[in-house]
Chain length 243, copies 2
DNA sequence: TTGCTGGTTTGACTTGGATCAACCCTTGCG
DNA sequence: CGCAAGGGTTGATCCAAGTCAAACCAGCAA
């Protein structure tokens, strides 16, 4: 471990309130801390996880962002999640102890690696940690199902609105600006995730801009009328609290 | 507990190979067995779980079938899963210790109720059970993500094919016929789940019948050319092993 | 500097599945 | 029995979003 990384601990991590340590006390956090490996940074497009490889660790995002996707044998793929600091990656592989999706860095990023067999050992002694793991998985199930409803029942406009508001919320939770941020993913990625084509995403973004809701310039997004956008979601009967 | 139910134990349940006992030895299974409550049967349309109620138990389906769905404030709803014997219901509520979806019986059905606080106690002592719980949740995440891909990337025909083949597989796993069974859900339910209208589902079923793939008469479904149907899925690049 | 590549935008056109509408079953109940 | 209600089928029409095509732009490598 390099000197520049040695002072990072769960204790002083900015995102521990969103991450596994959430429900742990200081002692427990220290125990968790001892098994966490902090690796070298990954760069844009680097793979954190490749499909079909054995699951040996879970990963917590420390900085940067990732996308996870599943792929069929024709190369068609489906992005299933975007990950930001504090998010835990890898739960979908627990069943077969083998990764079923791939995870790729969207920009320079760092993770905390949590070797799975050691996590099990620590969890043996820490009911709070077990609980926390279950809650994370449960949250993922809940979110995936909201996503299914979004995809099955909502039109393109509401899907993209939902996406922008959820990004805004996630940045805010992490102490970043809720109204001005860089989109780490491409328009194609957004479309893929939401079940829309790039063209539709692009057209909608320009429309939102024309309507004064947002300002986009390449990756830079500014949310100008968050209230209006949330009202639009409410009009679509989408509960903004569950985002 | 009535006399007619007293002889039911995980040990002699037909579906234990799919259910929580899966990875447990005889002793462990007995421990699990002691906390399981076997209630009176539910009837068609009865609620097993109502939305927003506190999560006190998980449920294992013993006989019959269920649908789970989430609902928005306009009454629009999305069926997120159908449940058959051996399936565990309730994982999506663990996060907030409160159910976020409703579960309704599709026909007369019975469940094993597993009080959650007792499950936690037993799991404390049984690593295998903990593991099993995690695997179940992980499987649910994995399935939900496959579903997202299905909904986002596939057309109506392949969605319904997938649905029929997955039903067939689930019946087979449970020792029922893989090619001849009753659809416990309505066409509307199928459409809702797959993001299609009733009309589309109905038209497709008639088309499949005209093409000699299946025979449908009301709820009764016969799969005549399973091989052809699987080949069609393969042509759509849908991996039938992951169904 | 030039050319290449991947990402984005915009316009014209097409289409799969939704919508609307009518009608036919069952099933159950007063 | 009659009739209401829920479920299912079939046909005609429509439209939101997909497809196809072209052009633009920024970043990067040679």
């Amino acid at each position: 471990m390099s000197a520049s990384q040695s002072y990072i601990h769960c204790q002083n991590c900015n995102f521990s309130h969103l991450c596994l340590p959430l429900a742990l006390n200081t002692d427990e956090m220290d125990k968790l801390d001892t098994i966490v490996k902090r690796n070298n940074p990954l760069h844009k497009n680097d793979y954190l996880i490749e499909s079909n490889t054995p699951l040996t660790s879970l990963y917590a995002v420390r900085t940067g962002s990732f996308k996870s996707y599943i792929e069929d044998d024709d190369g068609e793929y489906q992005i299933t999640a975007f990950h930001f600091p504090g998010d835990i990656i890898g739960f979908d592989g627990l069943r077969e102890k083998r990764h079923v999706s791939q995870t790729q860095a969207l920009e320079t990023a760092m993770v905390c690696e949590i070797p799975f067999h050691m996590l099990e050992d620590v969890a043996e002694k820490l009911p709070n940690l077990r609980n926390q793991l279950m809650k994370f998985m449960s949250a993922e199930i809940q979110q995936d199902r909201e996503l299914v409803m979004l995809l099955n029942k909502r039109n393109a406009e509401s899907r993209l609105l939902y996406f922008l508001i959820s990004l805004s919320k996630r940045f805010e939770e992490r102490g970043f600006s809720a109204t001005s941020f860089l989109l780490p993913m491409t328009r194609t990625d957004i479309g893929n995730f939401l079940g829309l084509t790039v063209e539709t995403v692009s057209r909608l973004l320009t429309r939102f801009q024309k309507n004064g809701l947002i300002k986009v310039e390449g990756k830079a997004l500014e949310i100008l009328k968050k209230g209006d956008m949330e009202q639009m979601l409410t009009d679509y009967h989408i509960n903004i609290d569950s985002i």
